[in-house]
């Protein structure tokens, strides 16, 4: 820190916090840690966690970040915040005073979002650090156990990491226990009460299969394997639990990337603008702010997209155009009321579906591209006909919608303990090379044959993986 002292930061922080309260943001207590660029790289490699279990993939991620950074191909983020209570953010010591001010304001935006958005309810922010630390301790314990060892632990972790995102997407919905699922299945099998039974054709009776496993298709692959593969040792089960818990901690962040970054950008802008900076700082603010939220042609900057939608919501409620009033009716809420409500109850998919208007899409010149030959070619632009489809494609690509939905249908397929899964195909095929290797991981954990039903180039197919390796069967 050359041109400013820690005391300057504390002073600015006090002013920023006054604004945060004035605007009605509701934050966890905040901690800032000043670090240098190697520290930042380290935190980035481990998703910001001060303690994390070891695995080579984080070493790889560090090397990659460092190579990119050393060659000047990517800068470092000015800040990194983790969702915990108190919230922890890292500030880079080489940043200028203005960047620190902007960053601190931005951090409070994230902090408020973490505390209030419904998707984060499942993460238990007050236990974040302890949870990660306990995971690290447990994994290290297994690594050091002479009867297990690093190689065995790595084998399980490699496989578990490959499957970790195959879990429930909306964690706000409670998962039914097996008994509850059973009850529901039995209830559905009961004939409905029908006062006109005599004149209706009798409904065919379907007996509920109470022995079926799972009763309802199950999305939590790791947990399913943990619970129903009787050959796993306790430590293997624990590793699966750890990886699953971590994935579920990060799912809300994936689910709200655009909203969250947009929200933080929106608030750093409002807060810094209200601070009445001196001219020099203000000019630098305009430059830096635009670097962060600028549209990047040929890409989709989540900061830009998010910020534009939030600003649009605010404007449509505070200052709607006559056409908008004609179309949507006069707004019943103020802009502030509306955005605070939206930040609590939406996630990226619903946020885009409800609040990205076709006008805004045209203004941002969104387009859809498809692979054709070796090229990516624009096939839709946001005109009268195209915008709906582009919006659908965009929704399919955000958050966990970009991960294929694969559910366990039957754990005893063909009565030989084959794990039968189904890929819920929505027009997008699986990447075959990746599917083959990942299915191999699944087989490694399940211990017996695994089969995925999917659609490949319009044909229903089964991808199988057993001890003889990978094969593809076409289905009729």
């Amino acid at each position: 820190m050359s041109s400013y002292e820690l005391s300057d930061l504390i002073e600015w922080d006090t002013r920023i916090r006054a604004k945060v309260e004035e605007f009605g943001l509701d934050c966890f207590a905040q901690e800032f840690e000043i670090c240098d660029h190697t520290g930042m790289l380290g935190y980035m490699a481990y998703n910001g966690m001060p303690s994390h279990y070891p695995h080579w993939s984080y070493g790889k991620s560090y090397e990659k970040l460092k190579t990119l950074y050393d060659h000047g191909m990517s800068g470092l983020p000015y800040e990194m915040v983790i969702n915990s209570s108190p919230s922890i953010a890292y500030l880079m010591r080489d940043n200028t005073l203005l960047l620190q001010i902007l960053t601190m304001a931005h951090v409070y935006g994230h902090n408020d979002f973490f505390k209030n958005n419904f998707t984060y309810r499942s993460t238990r922010a007050e236990l974040t650090l302890e949870t990660f630390k306990a995971h690290a301790l447990r994994v290290r314990h297994y690594t050091e156990d002479p009867s297990i060892g690093a190689d065995q632990v790595e084998r399980v972790l490699d496989a578990a990491h490959g499957l970790s995102w195959q879990c429930r997407r909306n964690l706000a919905i409670r998962k039914l226990t097996r008994d509850e699922q059973l009850e529901r299945a039995l209830e559905q099998a009961q004939p409905r009460f029908d006062p006109y039974k005599k004149i209706h054709r009798p409904v065919e009776f379907h007996e509920a299969d109470v022995h079926k496993l799972p009763i309802e298709p199950d999305e939590d692959l790791l947990l399913f394997i943990r619970d129903y593969n009787p050959f796993l040792s306790p430590w293997e089960k624990d590793l699966l639990t750890i990886v699953d818990e971590e994935a579920k901690y990060f799912i809300p962040m994936m689910e709200t990337k655009i909203m969250n970054e947009g929200w933080a950008s929106y608030w750093h802008k409002r807060i810094v603008e209200s601070l009445a900076l001196e001219q020099g700082l203000h000019l630098e603010f305009i430059v830096r702010h635009n670097q962060v939220v600028r549209p990047i042609p040929g890409q989709l900057n989540p900061y830009h997209l998010g910020l534009r939608i939030w600003e649009d919501i605010f404007r449509r409620h505070n200052d709607p155009t006559p056409e908008e009033i004609k179309r949507d009716g006069a707004p019943t809420k103020t802009g502030d009321q509306k955005i605070f409500e939206v930040r609590e109850v939406e996630r990226d998919t619903s946020f885009i579906r409800r609040y990205l208007t076709d006008d805004l899409m045209r203004e941002m010149d969104l387009f859809q591209y498809q692979a054709r030959g070796g090229d990516l070619v624009v096939d839709k632009v946001a005109d009268e006909e195209g915008w709906r489809e582009i919006k659908e494609t965009l929704i399919k690509g955000v958050g966990t919608a970009s991960i294929p939905v694969i559910k366990v249908e039957d754990a005893d397929f063909g009565h030989n303990h084959t794990l039968y899964l189904k890929h819920y195909h929505d027009g997008r095929d699986l990447h075959l090379e990746y599917a083959e290797k990942t299915l191999g991981y699944l087989q490694r954990l399940w211990g017996r044959e695994c089969v995925i039903e999917t659609v490949l180039q319009g044909k229903r197919s089964q991808l199988c993986y057993n001890e003889r390796g990978f094969s593809i069967r076409a289905l009729k």
Partner: protein, 412 residues
């Protein structure tokens, strides 16, 4: 709202917290493993014969990719244009990170991942030969080969690498210097005494002993390690290659690749192993390295001629009681029938004088069915140190090479 906490930057913390070191190490090990797994492919794909040691080779990495279920190429994406995006416009290439990708929390698409890494030929050779050695090396009377063994501790030095810092000695040096400096303070104080009053001088000495006395650069002592060169037995490697007319370009290429590997292996791992090159058709002669790798000849094949030449050279220059002798022969096995008994006898004799005698038969795919083979003839030869392999295509070179020299083979 409660006050925010600021934790100040402390360089000492930053230096200590290189926590990804272990994971980076493991990652690099995996990269190396992955290279090693692919060596057979690399050797088959790259014509490494006679290449510069510093040449950079691209090696695909398979073991270090992180696989997940992801969507393939037929998934559409959405991007932002610069204001005039038109249908039909080309915006990127498939196979790498296309547009439409923000910096997500987790990678949800295949894409930027290192698929390959660059290694120099020298590094590659080093990785390749890591666990190979000349088998059954015996101690012979005259020793010439030097092999580096790890090292003995020998004394202490002022300079060295951090891990060899001897803390006890360093601390002792500091104490010695401290005592010496107190003593000199005293003597200086004694001198001063003549000038200034005695009480003042006492105070100076006391102050000196209470002052902080940090380590100085000169205090550092490092353990010194000396590389111990032990002389091992003498060895000579005889490379015998069939250069007859039946050895077409493909066969010669395979044979030369094999010998090139052998040559690389010996020259990188052993400092003074002698290599003798013998080329034969119906007659055999000793040739230079250059000729061996680059010249072709023609004519019929008398395999026995090559073996007799080898025996002759061994008798003249490399007596088996003094030398470890290794002989490797590559041929397509298309020998004149009349020569077979002689060849078998010569092979028998050779395996008696050699530590290891290897025969590699080069039969590019298919030619096995219409050409005669020496493998059947040599089957009658019973010697524990005689080994045959069949090389049918480029991919076989590395496995057969390993079969001859792998360390674990000796244990059998």
């Amino acid at each position: 709202m409660v006050d925010s906490i600021f934790r100040e930057y402390r360089p000492s913390d930053a230096e200590r917290s290189d926590r990804s070191a272990g994971d980076r190490l493991r990652h690099r090990q995996k990269v190396r493993e992955s290279i090693r797994e692919n060596i057979a492919d690399i050797i088959a794909e790259e014509s490494i014969i006679g290449k510069d040691k510093d040449r950079v080779i691209k090696v695909p990495l398979r073991g270090v990719k992180e696989y997940r279920f992801v969507y393939g190429d037929n998934a559409a994406g959405v991007s932002q244009g610069d204001g005039d995006a038109r249908p039909g416009q080309v915006v990127g290439k498939t196979g790498r990170e296309g547009p439409g990708k923000g910096d997500d929390v987790a990678g949800d698409r295949p894409g930027v991942d290192y698929y390959e890494t660059d290694v120099t030929l020298e590094e590659l050779v080093e990785i390749m030969f890591e666990d190979l050695e000349l088998p059954n090396l015996e101690r012979k009377a005259l020793r010439e080969i030097e092999s580096d063994r790890l090292a003995k501790r020998k004394g202490y030095r002022h300079v060295g690498i951090r891990v060899r810092l001897d803390k006890r000695r360093t601390a002792r040096q500091r104490v010695m210097r401290k005592l010496a400096s107190i003593r000199s303070e005293h003597s200086r104080a004694a001198q001063a005494e003549r000038v200034i009053a005695a009480e003042e001088a006492g105070e100076v000495a006391e102050e000196a002993s209470e002052r902080r006395f940090p380590f100085h650069h000169d205090d550092l002592r490092y353990r010194h390690i000396e590389v111990d060169t032990r002389e091992e037995s003498n060895a000579v490697v005889l490379c015998i290659m069939d250069t007859s007319g039946s050895m077409d370009t493909m066969k010669k290429y395979l044979a030369r690749s094999f010998f090139f590997l052998l040559y690389q292996f010996i020259s990188t791992r052993y400092r003074s192993v002698e290599i003798v090159f013998i080329a034969h058709h119906t007659e055999a002669r000793e040739v230079s390295e250059e000729e061996f790798f680059h010249k072709g000849e023609s004519g019929g094949t008398f395999i026995s001629s090559g073996y007799h030449k080898a025996l002759e050279i061994i008798a003249a220059r490399y007596h088996p009681s003094l030398w470890n002798v290794y002989a490797f022969h590559c041929s397509d096995g298309d020998n004149f029938d009349s020569d077979n008994p002689a060849a078998l006898r010569a092979a028998q004799e050779l395996s008696e004088v050699c530590n290891l005698f290897g025969y590699g038969e080069i039969k590019p795919l298919g030619s096995r069915y219409y050409e005669s083979s020496m493998l059947n003839v040599f089957r009658r030869l019973e010697a524990p140190n005689f080994h045959t392999v069949l090389i049918e295509r480029k991919e076989d070179i590395w496995p057969s090479f390993k079969a001859f020299l792998a360390k674990d083979r000796i244990k059998e």
